[in-house]
């Protein structure tokens, strides 16, 4: 199996789980380690005896321990054992507790697929249902319009009085406005107002940051008043920016379906207002398209399993309707995930990456970030000790701070393939492909 320890470590939800998992990765501390074509398993004696199993297709782990982390340290330990020495997990008869789980997983997958299928096929909508839906949309539109009216007046007030005076406002000043927008069913705008609350006095150029943020919100509300004049796809983006969410069924029904060998090139966790988000970046080996799988979880709830970075799967992705489609859903999968052997098909110069960004922004002006595979570039350190990516023309861009020493040690300053995220200010290093192996940069903003 082409599983590496780094891929397993990248699955860890945080560094303490990673370290704990490493400690448990000793075959002699386990009982009944085994595998079949679909799964690996073993039992670990912790405070109780835990049954740990992992599916080989997507490395999903199931453990009987009470940990709310996912995967838990036992799962990471088991996968690490398999990654470092596959022979430590010999072929064996599948125990019932593994078979049961595999069957349950399969049933869930089938149900999910059937559901998606049903909505794609579009079980005929009765005129009555259509009418009700239209009425709901209309009601919502009315409320959003009221909300937009409100925020425009609010922003107008602030700018007439001057930004200087908001620097001393209590949090409730922002929170009240955000709450009004939530009531008006515009949670996207509500979030942006909440984020504004953190800007005043947080940095030297906070007035500029705040003005830009307010300006961008104004552009959205301005556009929304004339939404009918926009390109239909951009209308979708605008609605989603305001906070109109599509259900997965709607995406399945209306989104563009693309089958490819999708390479998982990065993963990060973010936390916003107790809502945790998991970002998984994909790149299609044939189409060259980038995609983002995004999922959310409240509090300590676990994310649904996703593919680990470094692996590639033949699958359908269904993209959210958008002028610049990035976000997607994972649809039908064909065959097993495996490690990708190369990471070609990216940008060969930083100028090309910026051009791509310009082009993307011309289609979707409020695009916040794009991923990029950078081929034939070097990770280096500037004289002032900051991390840089340099292309073969000698052009450089700064990388956001982080611990990139291991990748540096592996690459030795020589050109290689990197995965980054460009957020209009700096690059964030997401992964590196060195000596035919993918090394994800584990990141968590939580």
């Amino acid at each position: 199996m082409e599983l590496t320890a780094d891929q397993v470590m990248a699955l860890a939800p945080d560094s303490s789980s990673a370290a704990a998992g490493k400690k448990l990765a000793k075959p002699k501390d386990w009982q009944g380690l085994g595998r079949d074509s679909a799964a690996i398993w073993g039992e670990f004696q912790g405070s109780a005896r835990y049954q740990v199993r992992a599916a080989l297709s997507d490395l999903t782990v199931k453990c009987s321990c009470p940990s709310r982390k996912f995967p838990c340290k036992h799962g990471i330990g088991l996968l690490l054992i398999a990654a470092t020495d596959f022979s430590a997990v010999p072929e064996a008869t599948t125990p019932d507790w593994v078979t049961d789980w595999l069957q349950r997983r399969e049933a869930t997958a089938e149900r999910r697929e059937a559901k998606a299928h049903a909505s794609v096929e579009g079980t005929a909508v009765t005129p009555d249902q259509a009418k009700r839906a239209a009425a709901t949309t209309k009601r919502r539109l009315k409320r959003v319009e009221v909300g937009i009216e409100g925020i425009d007046l609010w922003l107008d007030d602030i700018v007439r009085g001057g930004l200087a005076q908001v620097s001393t406002q209590a949090n409730s000043f922002w929170e009240n406005q955000a709450a009004r927008l939530t009531d008006a069913q515009a949670p996207g705008l509500a979030n942006r107002v909440r984020q504004m609350a953190d800007i005043p006095n947080a940095s030297d150029n906070w007035p500029e940051q705040l003005l830009v943020e307010m300006g961008e919100v104004s552009l959205l509300t301005h556009a929304f008043r004339r939404i009918d004049e926009l390109d239909p796809l951009l209308q979708e983006d605008l609605r989603s920016a305001i906070g109109w969410t599509l259900t997965q069924e709607e995406v399945m029904a209306r989104g563009e379906k693309v089958r490819d060998q999708w390479r998982v090139i990065g993963r990060k966790l973010t936390l916003e207002d107790r809502l945790r988000a998991e970002w998984t970046w994909l790149h299609g080996a044939t189409t060259g398209r980038y995609a983002l799988l995004l999922q959310f979880a409240h509090g300590a709830a676990a994310f649904a399993p996703t593919l680990p970075p470094g692996r590639m799967i033949d699958a359908d992705l269904v993209f959210w309707p958008s002028a610049y489609p990035q976000r997607a859903l994972l649809g039908q999968q064909y065959g097993e995930a495996r490690a990708f052997p190369e990471l070609a098909g990216g940008d060969h110069s930083l100028a090309a990456m910026l051009d791509r960004n310009t082009e993307a922004m011309s289609r979707l002006p409020w695009l916040a970030q794009i991923p990029a595979i950078l081929n034939d570039m070097s990770l280096i350190i500037a004289d002032d000790r900051s991390w840089l990516i340099r292309d073969s023309t000698g052009a450089t861009l700064r990388i956001r701070n982080g611990d990139h020493w291991q990748i540096m040690a592996l690459a030795g300053g020589y050109p290689g393939d990197y995965v980054v995220e460009w957020d209009n200010q700096q690059l964030t290093l997401v992964g590196a492909f060195v000596h035919k192996k993918f090394y994800p940069v584990s990141r968590s903003d939580e």
């Binding site: 007439r160 300006g215 104004s218 552009l219 280096i380 030795g412 300053g413």
Partner: protein
């Protein structure tokens, strides 16, 4: 953008600069938009300009003088060893790390690249592994370390190991103007190559330096110490700092025939007299034959009455610690400054004879303490050996229960020949159900590793026995020797050591302690075995 921000900060109510928008890149677009307030126009212009700026971003030019890593010279170690090191680098078993690294260096193998940052972090934390780490880093590791300030110690370690390193041309400049640690570093180098020059430097600046730096400078005298240093060192006995004076005394005692030693010798000669054993009497001869004892001479001890000013100065600290009389303390300190070989010559007696004579004496323990300190300072192997032979005699052990560990004993251990250490430990370890016999624990670290099989066997047997003693104590110092044994046992005894252990104690607490220690012992031993088997040298 700056002017837009300025306008927004003041507020559009208070300013009237509508013309401003037209100057902005996207301003014209905005002013054409109908039915908008000035505030709204400002917001749209700012938002639009921000997007315009982001979308049209240019590449900055950042200068960097970066070089790629040079080719490595050695092949990487095996994946198995890499995995073991990965685990060791996240633990605190420095000795295992040192063992693995030294075997890697001897086998001509390097660390794999992915372990380098961890290895360097480990070396940053544990100074003891730095020297061993150096060769296994190879080119890639040295290159990586140069880019991180906290890994700078690599170059310093390399420079310190490089004995051929020449004194830099600007040494004097560095000595005059460098940071304190740089100054000490350069002074130490010069001291090794040219002690006269180093001493001249120190003398020239002595009075202007702070006390702790004076002490550091003085410590460099330990290398190449000679009678040439005597006048200067003797003068520092008048220094304001007691730590400096103490260091000067130590150095002066190590210079044969230093003025201090001569003064002290003269004083000591007045205090100590020796009468050789009577050879003639028939009665004594008979008694000796009966007890099989060597003849014992007699020591006559006179405690100092009063110290003159000079003597006081030479003692540094004339106030005794609690529990010791003033005059006994003066005697002990004076003896400590006289090389013990002086007494062998002066009294024409062997160290063993003199020790035997002291042992029954009223001031015997004071004499032995003074001699032991003197033997340590003078690094006198003969005396060290004689003292330890005496301390490990059953008769002495039985009478000196409370004295198992003392600074005098442990300080002398490093002077003992290894074979002698082993013989003493070997003689005592079997008796070790009695606490006073634990005096061997002072010596066990001195026995060269790997232990020979016979001694290892003896240690294991004694330790297994000890683990089953029914005691009510809360603490057993023996447990600590497992930490030494785990690195010292010869490979031929690994299997023997790993056999199941029986632990039986009255105290639950102590039982747990033993069990934990043995678990740790076996797990460490397994790793040591893996290192020895998988890194063949």
């Amino acid at each position: 953008m700056d002017r837009l921000v300025e306008l927004a900060l003041k507020g559009t109510n208070r300013t009237d600069e509508q013309g401003l928008l037209n100057e902005q890149p996207v301003g014209a677009l905005v002013t054409q938009t109908p039915a908008t307030t000035p505030a709204k126009q400002l917001l749209l212009a700012a938002g639009g300009y921000a997007i315009y700026r982001q979308a049209g971003q240019q590449l900055p030019s950042i200068a960097s003088s970066f070089t790629t890593a040079p080719e490595d010279e050695m092949p990487p170690c095996s994946p198995n060893i890499a995995r073991l090191l990965d685990e060791l680098f996240s633990g605190d078993k420095g000795a295992l790390v040192i063992l693995a690294l030294s075997r890697l260096a001897r086998a001509g193998q390097r660390l794999p690249h992915h372990l380098l940052p961890q290895a360097l972090e480990y070396g940053t934390q544990y100074h003891a592994v730095r020297e061993g780490l150096l060769p296994t880093l190879d080119q890639r590791g040295r290159w990586l370390a140069r880019m991180n300030h906290s890994w700078r110690w690599i170059e310093e370690t390399a420079a310190a190991l490089d004995t051929t390193s020449e004194i830099p041309v600007n040494a004097e400049e560095q000595w005059q103007a460098g940071q304190p640690y740089e100054r000490v570093y350069i002074l130490r180098q010069v001291r090794t190559a040219d002690p006269d020059k180093a001493r001249a430097w120190v003398e020239a600046t002595w009075k202007t330096e702070k006390a702790d730096f004076r002490l550091q400078m003085l410590k460099t005298f330990a290398s190449q110490l000679s009678i040439e240093d005597d006048p200067f060192l003797d003068a520092t006995l008048d220094d304001r700092s007691q730590a400096v004076r103490q260091e000067a005394i130590t150095l002066l005692s190590r210079i044969p025939n230093s003025a201090l030693q001569q003064r002290m010798q003269e004083r000591a000669n007045q205090l100590l007299h020796y009468l050789p054993p009577q050879q003639t009497g028939l009665l004594q001869k008979l008694a000796r034959t009966a007890t099989k004892q060597a003849p014992i001479g007699t020591l006559q001890v006179t405690l100092p009455e009063n110290l003159d000013r000079q003597w006081k100065r030479d003692l540094v600290d004339s106030k005794p610690p609690k529990g010791i009389g003033e005059r006994a303390w003066w005697l002990e300190r004076t003896l400590a400054c006289v090389a013990p070989s002086h007494w062998s010559t002066q009294f024409a007696a062997t160290p063993a004879e003199l020790i035997a004579a002291a042992s029954g004496h009223e001031w015997g323990s004071t004499l032995l303490k003074g001699w032991a300190q003197a033997a340590t300072i003078a690094a006198d192997i003969q005396w060290a050996s004689a003292l330890w032979q005496f301390w490990s005699k059953p008769e002495y052990i039985k009478e000196n229960h409370e004295n198992v560990y003392s600074s005098e004993k442990s300080a002398l251990v490093s002077l003992l020949p290894p074979a002698e250490c082993e013989a003493i430990v070997s003689r005592l370890i079997g008796n070790s159900l009695k606490e006073e016999y634990l005096v061997w624990m002072n010596l066990i670290d001195q026995i060269p590793t790997p232990w020979n099989e016979q001694f290892g066997q003896q240690y294991l047997e004694a330790t297994r026995k000890r683990a089953t003693i029914r005691t009510k104590e809360y603490f057993d110092p023996w447990i600590d020797t497992l930490e030494r044994a785990v690195y010292a046992l010869p490979p031929t005894l690994f299997a023997e050591a790993r056999k199941p252990w029986e632990v039986k104690n009255k105290s639950v607490w102590l039982t747990n302690k033993w069990e934990d220690a043995i678990k740790e012992f076996i797990s460490t031993l397994e790793k040591r075995q893996q290192i020895m088997e998988e890194i063949p040298v």
